[in-house]
Symmetry: C2
Subunit: 281 residues, 2 copies
């Protein structure tokens, strides 16, 4: 059945199948006709960066992104931010090695004892500016991903697509946007800010649904099981001429992570297919 | 100890001590020197509206707000929104009976099968407009409370203080703002929009902390246990001349709701006292 679907722009984000190792994910996605992958560092580190790069090449698989950056959380110590920058330089190098066009920047949340969120946002802006030249040097974008506001305490203080667009304006061509339906669906400015992002700056687009009755912070929904209007968002992307990747990215502690990854991939393909073709059906 | 504290503007929101009935809450707060309460309908309905009003008067207790409105969730049926308006008319009447200056409007989330959040927001705007004349008639404000974006699927599609201010601009003096640190702390526009709200339109201000490691959607933090800068927000409120109530409102399934309410109230007073005096210390 999958042979009839146009999956040329479709990738599976590896966190969707966390019980699979790096080689299992590559082979498992390929087996069902998916040739795009978003790589997570923990699986890549376990397998080795060089071996990951070779396996991806052998499987003829393209890489949508490398997830994720090191967090800039440690502002307490003098060298904390500098260490974060150095860690991210190495991650950018690894992204180049596996052919990832961007590193998904999850910028980090409030450092211990910090209560000034505006000050921390400014710190992160400055750290990204310092990292940008290295990104250019290795030909990998800093893919700014606004995370849902519920992660502002623990994962990232970059929480609106507007703020990511502002950062792209400020920092220039070494940065790009990673937009995610799960993180942004509630935002009254989502569509307008996607148009502002534009085709050139949008590195990749994450598909994930928001369950009406969300139980915890890792309870994302399979596309179609929640409240998000994917057809409408796809038409906005078509309007701006976006021709980049679509990734299925699913954190699902209570449901999909417990299933056989073969099933998750199969159902993921079925659900995403209507929204990921080269042109909207 | 509490005798030395200035608690004249301080109220406890009844959901903070859900194991107490209406009379237990009134007496329990009074026992520790708190003379303000935000009433929840379920406890009031159990006790009776008339009996609640009498008990509040006998205890010399003032009411910060009545929580909450009926949701406008049922847009599927023709009469769904009309039923919501009718239910809220009765709730406004009850608010007047107990001397609550506002009903906290939790406007409702996505109706079953609805995927167009902008359309639902427009429906709610229209329903509020229809409700406003009754609010004026009974002398109770429609207190618009923007809820954290993580409740957009299940509780309320009003998620930014900016949008609540826009609604107040549009709907006029029958509406007001209910601002909550837990819902808005992450918002880069929080302080600017509080200034825009202004003293006249701010009905009540909810205190609640955001825990860095939030475990579920009812895992709010006691003031001081999280990442929110209450002193800074208090100084913004002083700047605009705000002289209304401060409420401690704590949903805490995994921690505070399990404790003896006497302890929750005692610690709540200790933690909030530095931020709720008539003037900032």
């Amino acid at each position: 059945m999958t042979q009839q679907l146009d999956l040329s722009r479709f990738a599976i984000n590896q966190i969707t199948t966390p019980s699979w190792s790096m080689p299992q994910a590559i082979d498992g996605y390929a087996r069902q006709g998916v040739s795009g992958i978003a790589v997570w560092r923990n699986f890549m580190d376990d397998y080795g960066v060089g071996q990951t790069a070779r396996h991806l090449k052998d499987a003829d698989m393209w890489v949508a992104s490398l997830c994720t950056s090191a967090w800039f959380n440690d502002a307490a110590s003098a060298g904390g931010i500098a260490n974060g920058i150095e860690a991210n330089r190495k991650i950018l190098d690894q992204a180049a090695q596996i052919g990832a066009p961007c590193v998904v920047m999850v910028v980090g949340a409030m450092p211990d004892g910090e209560k000034d969120i505006a000050a921390h946002r400014a710190r992160i802006r400055d750290a990204l500016a310092e990292l940008a030249p290295h990104a250019r040097q290795v030909g990998v974008k800093l893919g700014l991903e606004p995370l849902h506001p519920m992660y502002a305490g623990s994962r990232s203080v970059l929480n609106r697509i507007k703020d990511a667009n502002d950062l792209c304006d400020l920092l220039g061509d070494d940065t790009s946007m990673v937009a995610d339906t799960y993180h942004c669906w509630w935002d009254p400015d989502f569509e307008a800010e996607l148009r502002r992002t534009g085709k050139q700056r949008l590195s990749t687009f994450h598909l994930c649904d928001w369950l009406a009755e969300t139980r915890n912070l890792r309870d994302r929904g399979m596309v179609g099981d929640g409240v998000i209007d994917f057809a409408r968002l796809r038409s906005v992307l078509d309007d701006i001429g976006y021709d980049g990747p679509f990734e299925l990215e699913l954190f699902s502690e209570l449901d999909w992570w417990k299933r056989d990854p073969e099933e998750t991939v199969r159902i993921g393909i079925e659900r995403c297919a209507p929204f990921v073709g080269a042109r909207l059906r």
